[in-house]
Subunit: 433 residues, 2 copies
Amino acid sequence: MGESAERDNAIDKAGFEKEYPKLRTEFLNAQFDLIESKRFPVILVFAGMEGTGVIDALTNANTVLDSRHVVTFALDTPTQEESERPRMWRFWRTLPPKGEIGIYAGSWYTAPLTDRVLDKISDARFEQQLDAIKRFESMLAAEGALILKIWLHLSKDDQKKKLKKLEKSERTKWRIEESLWGGSKRYRKVKSAAEHMMRITGTDQAPWIYVNAANKYYRSLTVGKTILNAIRTHLEQARAAEVSPQATPVSIPDVNRQTPLNEMDLSLKLEREDYKKKLSHYQNRLNELVWNKKFKKRSLVLVFEGNDAAGKGGSIRRVIEFLDPRRYRVNQFAAPTDEEKAQPYLWRFWRRLPRRGHIAIFDRSWYGRVLVERVEGFCSEAAWRRAYMEINDFENEMAEAGSIVIKFWLAIDKDEQVQRFKAREETGYKRYK
Amino acid sequence: MGESAERDNAIDKAGFEKEYPKLRTEFLNAQFDLIESKRFPVILVFAGMEGTGVIDALTNANTVLDSRHVVTFALDTPTQEESERPRMWRFWRTLPPKGEIGIYAGSWYTAPLTDRVLDKISDARFEQQLDAIKRFESMLAAEGALILKIWLHLSKDDQKKKLKKLEKSERTKWRIEESLWGGSKRYRKVKSAAEHMMRITGTDQAPWIYVNAANKYYRSLTVGKTILNAIRTHLEQARAAEVSPQATPVSIPDVNRQTPLNEMDLSLKLEREDYKKKLSHYQNRLNELVWNKKFKKRSLVLVFEGNDAAGKGGSIRRVIEFLDPRRYRVNQFAAPTDEEKAQPYLWRFWRRLPRRGHIAIFDRSWYGRVLVERVEGFCSEAAWRRAYMEINDFENEMAEAGSIVIKFWLAIDKDEQVQRFKAREETGYKRYK
């Protein structure tokens, strides 16, 4: 970044005051169109060298915008509820719905960058985290979000001056006290880590915009105009792409390939007496493990998928039979609610992830995207294709947070399925299926 | 309770096993109707003497019910996010939506009862808290919820036996370790506090059901049948009350009464220069106060109501102009979402209450119920009439939790309003209003 971002960009107060009211009007109009269209969310990430006035920039943004449709987050230290779940949970829970603007001062970049600057993580680990972020943002973009990331830059000399000024005022000195990176002491280190970060995560869909923050008028106008143009362009593109995704059912070739499901021995069985003994044994064992002290640091995610009538409900009932119901929740997903529809596909599953010491059971799950939705053509091919990667990332997040993730596919053949459907019709209490 | 609940109710295993499958079928059918109707939520509170097997009862309930539409909560120690908000926030956030069942093992009764048993609060304070609970439940009932509260009882001798048994088994001894009330040591104290509690909070809409828990078969069947009958009855009543509430606009008598709004001097004004000086002074002062350490223990709730064009938006903009946007959120409420519609009226406001150290600003608020909704006839007379009490309780909860609640009514007269409407049509960036 250095060169261009450090160049002197002088705008004086008069110039600013001439342009600002126009910008404000245009901004409110663009935001109005965004709110009305409810087409996509806008996600703004603010970061920068210490002393660049990230907070001033935010304050500015919030007075320019209609603040009723903007939420600003400063996610630095996770709360207890957040720290008991995967790293990205706190960001998922705050994602703005379509039509709204979410501004992140503390964002998914804060922890990796700070950890790298303070040498808490290696370069390799840093890159790994950045890769995960890149995929996260690419998912958001594929879901339609407009993502802009603003890096506010300062030369070393300018930073020194700014920090001194901030320290002097009673009203701003807390910013120095809250410093994560120790002010200008680590200037080079921050600069090089940030450059690396932007190189890896700066994409067409989620670009980094470097802004020289030495002159506050220049900073405000540049940031404002950039965001405004991006919203305008995105609105036009969304309107142009109005044609609904060609959601045609996918015909899956019925080749008799060797797949795990084809090769499965469906004749395997357990005798009733043996089953009863073993069931009771393992139910007890599971109950003991859940009460084990070590489980307080883990959580358990169980996914049940399979053919209709394969016995998902019955299996789940046996799993929970002796468990303390305060520790688990069984989740099933009907049609998404308004709030879920205004968010990326995986959002409804993220909100059901268990805290430490707890169990989440999913009777059908996020795999619906690549099963029923794919087969029935409920989503576009692009959507289910990218879901494979997104699901891997999602489950990876859980595993990294110490969740034990176990997925069951319950298989039966066609004849068995027909028989069970018939049996259900006859049994009273199963009619609700 | 004593007498009746302690009477011997012998049901043996054989009797239980004969009745249980039938009960289960009926239960699933009733729950299916509930889910399909989406008419009301079912709220079950379980409490009882230590050793009564509240957890077994829950486990039972969960295997009888379709667990995908049941969530069980054990809310004892609040999490950090919960403890930074009003006492009832954690219950509001877990309320089951219409069609679902919420089971509370740790409920709104846990803290008051335990505090009373351990002499942490006086009888007077206990009663005050019970009164608040009673009003909370009456609100839930008025919103349509079915509320049942089960008190599992044991005689002193039975309790001693049970506790001894629980202590012996590796699998259950944690229950003794988790004991809040110290087992049978405080038997009399618990019994008398619980009796008092049930006397005050047992109502027709939210009755307490005393069940002798000495015999587990009797306990399970009684609890099961009681809940089943209640759901069936409630479903029928809801169906009978199908006729939509007569929502006719209310004509408010236009008598020239002396009211604060009528008596307001609308000619008061501030000169521009004076205004600018004072505005800047108070904005700075507000900013300082928000950064004051003491504010970390408080939160601020600002409500703006008033005539259209009275200047709510402008006032809010001036309040937030110099505030750190990470500390506040401006809330506005359009049509409720699906998820909000499936909950009591105040739910959407509860979910926006700020954590400690934060500010929530409401551009229009819960007063909509007694303003626009009342005037336009969007809700029944019964609904807005009870809203006055509910709002008082709601704001009281906030104040008790240390929130500073300030409400502004911005008033203009008719002529001024007309003029402002005209001016707006001409100004570009205000068109979105």
